[in-house]
């Protein structure tokens, strides 16, 4: 267990930063979802003229929904991790003080009575540390699947550009949706990569 308090401090900041990075993703994903719904409505009205257009807008809508759910799960996971980190820090903090007492007051009549307390807190620290690692993996997986989701969003954006070249009337509208999806995916990927960067600080702590 690392005792570097600066590193621990950065762990809390890192977790809060992940939540903050992804906060802006929410608005973007909602914007895409709205554009997709709009496009779906237009294509429904266009009927046969917009064949090939509809499955794409459906897919775009689905992807933006996935992004919204993903952001919520990531925020939740980051918060849970942060709470466990606080809990772990508190035990760690107490343990360090017990240790200090133990080394400083070796000759105190009742110093042996502190050992049981120390063993108990040690056990607790170990359990918490396991829980922390488990949650950390969960967060990594959530970020990975968000990244994956954005990669497929970008492929959909390129596919829809090919489709738009054959449909003329709705070309402009679908192009707008495709562009906004492409932009959004780029933006979200950037945020996810920013989150990975913060996560490296956290991993440095748990490996220490």
């Amino acid at each position: 267990m690392s005792t570097d308090s600066k590193l621990k401090e950065s762990r809390f900041v890192a977790l809060a930063s992940i939540a903050a990075e992804l906060h802006s993703v929410m608005a973007v994903a909602k914007g895409v979802s709205l554009a997709a719904k709009n496009a779906k409505y237009i294509s429904a009205q266009a009927g046969e003229n917009a064949l090939g257009f509809q499955p794409i807008t459906d897919f775009i809508d689905e992807i933006s929904q996935q992004a919204i759910t993903g952001v919520n799960s990531i925020n939740e996971a980051a918060l849970k991790l942060s709470k466990i980190a606080v809990y772990e820090q508190r035990s760690c903090n107490a343990y360090q003080r017990f240790n200090l007492v133990y080394t400083k007051h070796k000759n105190a009549n009742h110093i042996k009575s502190l050992s049981d307390t120390m063993i108990r807190v040690e056990d607790k620290m170990e359990t918490t540390s396991k829980k922390y690692k488990h949650r950390l993996n969960e967060l990594v997986e959530l970020l990975e699947s968000m990244d994956e989701c954005m990669r497929s969003a970008q492929s959909i954006a390129s596919v829809s550009r090919i489709v738009t070249s054959s449909s003329n009337e709705y070309q402009a509208k679908l192009e707008i949706v495709a562009n906004s999806l492409d932009e959004a995916a780029k933006f979200i990927k950037e945020k996810v990569s920013g989150s990975y960067h913060h996560l490296n600080h956290i991993k440095a702590y748990s490996n220490g």
């Binding site: 035990s91 107490a94 003080r97 007492v101 009549n109 009742h110």
Partner: protein, 244 residues
């Protein structure tokens, strides 16, 4: 952290304080502990900064598991911000503290220790061979506030009442009362908000038999200095931050 045994007859009273390693920027505090054969009560155990020196000092006199009870006269950080650490050290202990501060004190982090709220009218605690009284001292200075009276040892642990601001190398007992006044005057005038509460407390405390009046800062009043303090405090106008 220095520890001084101030009473030893069937049960013991210890005073802890005057910690030479304490950061200079934090106020010096006195912590007290009553030890009987089966149990120990830690009174106003102090802030986070004094936790380790306190635990170290205690272990010279008692086992960790001997400490069954904690008492907090009120909610101030210098009184009990160490709660989260004691919570890890003494998961089976009880904390006796003003009922009105429970949901506030829990902000210090308390998952294991049991909170026993002291009702407004005060209460008692039996430590086996000694019965102690939690005496109301509301508005002196906190809105929910108690002192601990030991009728057998004739000691009143008086929290912030009787406190003095002075060097952390000063002696344990007040020797010259007149000389001590300047060290406590501003503290009482500024920190104590209510003349009515003060006079009510003095009236009740005058009925107790007190050999030692032991505050949380400064020095202990012994013998006739106890009466001198009560007389001085009675005459003192408090709550002076507001112009009358």
């Amino acid at each position: 952290m220095k520890s001084t045994k101030i009473y030893d007859n069937g049960h013991q009273w210890f005073m802890f304080g005057r910690d030479p390693e304490k950061p200079e920027s934090i106020i010096d505090t006195n912590q007290y502990m009553i030890v009987t054969d089966e149990r120990a009560l830690l009174m106003d155990p102090g802030g986070i900064e004094v936790f380790a020196p306190m635990l170290g000092a205690i272990l010279h006199h008692a086992n960790v598991e001997h400490i069954t009870d904690l008492f907090a006269s009120h909610q101030d950080p210098d009184i009990i911000s160490s709660l989260g650490l004691w919570d890890q050290a003494l998961p089976h202990a009880k904390l006796h503290a003003p009922w009105i501060w429970e949901s506030f004190l829990r902000h210090f982090g308390m998952e294991n220790i049991q909170y026993v709220g002291i009702p407004d009218e005060g209460s008692e605690i039996n430590l086996g061979t000694v019965n102690l009284k939690f005496i109301p001292a509301h508005y002196l200075h906190a809105s929910g506030n108690y002192h601990v009276y030991d009728p057998k040892a004739r000691i009143l642990m008086s929290g912030d009442v009787g406190a003095a601001l002075e060097s952390d190398q000063s002696p344990i007992f007040v020797d010259d009362f007149e000389e001590h006044i300047p060290k406590m005057k501003m503290f009482h005038q500024r920190w104590m908000p209510s003349n009515r509460a003060k006079n009510d407390w003095i009236k009740r405390v005058r009925e107790l038999e007190i050999d030692y009046l032991a505050p949380q800062h400064g020095r202990i009043f012994k013998g006739e200095n106890v009466t001198k303090f009560l007389d001085w405090f009675e005459a003192l106008e408090v709550g002076t931050a507001i112009a009358s």
